[in-house]
């Protein structure tokens, strides 16, 4: 037992200096246990099919097959952002409605009954794709449409569709260039929205899309080099269109052998679809990736293996539970009454002032029309009659 007499002594202050400069990250190679060797705690996947219309059936089948594998290996729907035109399953030309097959003779229906498409139809635009990646979504966007990754997330990005040298076509009306994509990834890196990124693209001249990346921790695979076309695999005579692209077909075959606890690494993934099978030459890029591809597991990106720790110590809580406040004395319940927001505020709409639109100079068409009218007028009547008009 100590009896303490309080006497003021003085102040001892400890200083703590820190100079913070942005140091380029060197990654930890922790060979003692695969437990924390990859440095990620959650997995995300962004799967985008950039084509629409019936003859691009194979692109939708590609994306849905990858979606299916990724779900099977453990990534939940809440962590997958799936962007599809989604006009295949219920297309008028589909002989088997509500199905999307990935194999000849209708062996495998990848549409299933639990597909959760986050962006469908005309929502699949370059703008939405970039917004999802960079996180610049309007505040009203629901959680399922957001990429809520943090600095310990491994993200898989899969793009398929029609592409060219340095661009990828989105829904026949716009395109995304490789520079924009590289800038988007750089913004993700600046905000630490990913730990590692695996980028797979299955389009013609796909390797051009990853040429411009410059952010660290990105590994990229493409189905064909610049100047080569990615070819489709096999048509189905009953459905009438090609069902899958070659690269994704063999990628899928490879992924079917992977289960959540398998130890296959990325070097095997690079060997998928050699030139003899694929006709095009698949390419990959690992110079920006810090770890050795040999030590990267497939399930680091395609699956979602959680790290777990045993809870060893436990708090001992001894005090009894207090009774929760019951209903008040007069018997009425103080329940909050919830109601829906007024969906169509008619009175507000009626009394709304028209929005101030910025003034734009007249459009080219209007200008051309007036020029034509003026020319014809002056041709007919000559300039000297001008004073009769004004």
């Amino acid at each position: 037992m100590y009896h303490i007499k309080v006497s003021q002594f003085g102040r001892s202050i400890s200083y703590f200096y820190l100079r913070l400069v942005f140091i380029s990250p060197r990654f930890v190679q922790n060979s003692a246990g695969q437990f924390f060797s990859s440095g990620h705690t959650n997995n995300w996947a962004v799967l985008v099919c950039t084509s629409r219309f019936w003859f691009n059936y194979r692109h939708v089948a590609n994306t849905l097959s990858v979606y299916r594998s990724v779900k099977r290996l453990g990534i939940p729907d809440s962590h997958i952002v799936l962007m599809l035109a989604d006009d295949m399953a219920c297309n008028h030309r589909n002989p088997k409605p509500a199905t999307v097959f990935s194999h000849k003779n209708m062996e495998l229906n990848v549409y299933g009954d639990d597909v959760e498409v986050d962006y469908r139809g005309y929502e699949v635009t370059v703008e939405n794709f970039l917004r999802v990646l960079t996180g610049r979504l309007p505040p009203s966007t629901p959680r399922s449409k957001r990429l809520l990754s943090d600095d310990r997330s491994n993200i898989l990005i899969y793009l398929t569709g029609h592409g060219g040298n340095g661009f990828l076509k989105f829904q026949d009306s716009e395109e995304i260039s490789n520079v924009e994509l590289a800038d988007a990834f750089e913004q993700m890196w600046q905000k630490r929205r990913y730990n590692e990124l695996l980028f797979i693209i299955d389009t013609c001249q796909g390797a051009s899309m990853y040429e411009r990346f410059y952010s660290p921790n990105i590994m990229a695979l493409a189905s064909s080099q610049v100047g080569e076309d990615s070819l489709s695999h096999q048509p189905d005579l009953a459905i009438g269109v090609h069902l899958m692209d070659r690269y994704t077909f063999y990628l899928l075959e490879f992924l079917e052998d992977i289960h959540p606890s398998s130890k296959t690494n990325m070097n095997d993934l690079f060997k998928v679809c050699p030139r003899s099978l694929c006709v095009s030459t698949p390419g990959h890029r690992t110079d920006l990736f810090l770890r050795n591809p040999e030590s990267v597991l497939i399930t680091d990106f395609f699956g979602s293996v959680r790290k777990v720790e045993i809870t060893t110590e436990v708090l001992n809580l001894t005090h009894p539970i207090q009774r929760v406040e019951g209903s008040p004395v007069n018997g009425e319940s103080h329940r909050e009454v919830y109601s829906y927001v007024d969906q169509l505020p008619v009175s507000e709409i009626i009394h709304q002032k028209p929005k101030q639109k910025d003034w734009h100079p007249p459009d080219g068409f209007i200008l051309g029309l007036w020029t034509l009218i003026l020319l014809v007028f002056f041709k007919t009547y000559g300039i000297k009659h001008l004073k009769h008009i004004f």
Binding site: M1, I4, S7, S14, Y17, L18, D77, R136, R306, L317
Partner: protein
């Protein structure tokens, strides 16, 4: 038909061409320039550049109190005496050099030899390393601060402990959603009752209230029936029970997560705490760690996700019981485990204190004051570092891409974020932890809002050849006649000048 231009007509034509060219250059070009430029509000770029060289001074006030009888009378005379107060602190243990209490006090023991025959200054010099060690445990240490900055400076932490600690805790966020779920795979055998409202009110809410300077927490709970674990436990004959080995724990979470759902409307991180009551055919179920030993708490947690506890009820009823059996779950035991996991996930240090240190148990709230201080220190530093990175990278981005529109509200957010960072750094230096945390929260909010503003979308990447392709059809047909007429005038003037020269000679 010949068009004979008289001198006056030619002069008039030249004047017309000159005036058109003048209008195009003087009026047209500036008009086009102004109407095609993007609106960019002013940003404090110089201040932001200063921010990138962030220097943090962290100062903690320490008051050293000497117990009566510790100092010799000569030493006592040197020290200013304020007041006498009697306090009793019960400390057991012989090898205990330092005892850390529940609030913000710690008691050091020094030997008699150490303090005999020394002046006050020498005594203080002896005490200094010990005080520093206490401070490192109670406030912050080098590893804590560097762990808090781990997303900005990724480096070799030197120990697996600190790396797992930095991976385990959630990143700083203005709010968190906590969900408690009760999984009942066998409603036909067990009818479970848990007083979750009372338990949360008694055990969890005080903890969260104490943590409220750090973040907002919202809690909800649910019961899931027919929810299985994803793995099949194996029956162990020696134990007479089902065993879940540590290696298979990683695969438990994913199948369950798909069924959990959440009603979170915000983008805050979600912590899930699951209580699993095994079905009658698979009871009792124990978790074994890597050394094949039973885990006493029967629970495990996953970094940045939440925790799962297995609650065995086999011993609560005999074989002749009539199904379904009503079972009341002992919430104190369950909440003890969940509170521990919550502490770890929020960022409490789990490593043991240095040798010779005895730490008091953390009381009914589950959080000692100095633990809260630790969290506040690391959270402030983390917020300031993250906000600084965000602001500097935003400034860099806006600088590089000349085509992005910078609205006034973004400029205002950035300015307020910069001001808040400067204020937070100043408060940290002064040692006002509460204010520093508040400013750091404000700066995080403002900087995130500015960075993630939907209007900052860089969709305006135009390669140079596309720019030419757009402008040439518009401007070329207009500029070519003007240029040609100007050239003709110039060649005419030169010819006349040469004629004049020839005439002169």
């Amino acid at each position: 038909m010949y068009f004979l231009a008289s001198l006056s007509e030619r002069r008039r034509g030249q004047l017309a061409a000159l005036s058109i060219a003048a209008v195009v250059i003087v009026v047209g070009v500036p008009l086009w320039w102004r109407t095609t430029e993007t609106y960019r509000a002013w940003l404090p770029f110089s201040q932001i550049k200063d921010l990138s060289k962030l220097q943090l001074h962290l100062s903690a006030d320490v008051e050293v109190v000497f117990a009566r009888g510790t100092l010799t009378p000569e030493q006592q005379k040197k020290l200013p005496l304020t007041q006498t107060q009697d306090e009793e602190h019960a400390v057991d243990g012989d090898n205990v050099k330092v005892y850390i209490g529940q609030r913000r006090t710690a008691i050091l023991r020094i030997n008699a030899e150490m303090r005999a025959g020394k002046t006050v200054e020498q005594l203080l010099a002896v005490l200094k390393p010990q005080i520093k060690q206490v401070l490192q445990v109670m406030s912050f240490s080098h590893t804590d601060i560097t762990a808090a900055l781990s997303d900005r400076v990724r480096f070799n932490p030197g120990s697996k402990e600190s790396m797992t600690h930095s991976m385990r805790a959630f990143t700083s966020s203005p709010g968190y959603e906590i969900t408690f779920s009760l999984l009942n795979p066998d409603p036909r055998s067990h009818r479970l009752h848990w007083d979750i409202e009372g338990a949360v009110q008694t055990y969890i809410q005080p903890f969260l209230t104490k943590l409220s300077p750090l973040a907002n927490f919202s809690i909800d709970s649910q019961m899931l029936h027919y929810a299985m674990l994803g793995v099949n436990p194996r029956y162990n004959n020696d134990r007479g029970a089902f065993i879940l080995h540590a290696d298979s724990l990683a695969h438990v979470i994913n199948p369950v997560e798909a069924r959990l759902g959440s009603n979170a409307a915000s983008s805050n991180p979600v912590l899930n705490f699951l209580l699993y009551v095994p079905d009658a055919q698979h009871s009792p179920l124990y978790i074994q760690d890597h050394k094949k030993m039973d885990v006493p708490s029967n629970a495990f947690h996953s970094p940045r996700w939440g925790g799962i506890m297995v609650y065995n009820v086999k011993n609560l009823y005999g074989p002749e019981a009539e199904f379904p059996v009503n079972i009341n779950i002992n919430m104190a035991e369950v909440m003890g485990v969940f509170l521990t996991q919550l502490r770890l996930l929020v960022g409490m240090e789990s490593s043991p204190p240095p040798p010779g240190f005895l730490v008091a148990p953390c009381g009914s709230v589950g959080l000692a004051d100095w633990e809260l201080d630790r969290l506040m220190w690391s959270r402030s530093v983390e917020n300031i570092a993250t906000a600084t990175t965000t602001i500097t990278s935003l400034a860099q981005l806006l600088d590089q891409i000349g085509n992005i529109v910078i609205n006034d509200n973004i400029a205002q957010q950035v300015s307020s974020a910069v001001t808040s960072v400067q204020l937070a750094v100043a408060e940290l230096e002064a040692g006002n932890l509460g204010f520093a945390l508040q400013y750091s929260k404000e700066t995080i909010l403002a900087s995130e809002k500015a960075f993630f503003d939907p209007s900052l979308l860089h969709l305006l990447y135009f390669p140079d050849d596309q720019k030419f392709a757009i402008y040439i059809p518009l401007f070329l047909p207009m500029c070519v006649p003007i240029l040609l007429s100007l050239l003709k005038m110039a060649s005419e003037a030169r010819r006349r000048y040469r004629e004049k020269q020839a005439k002169k000679d």
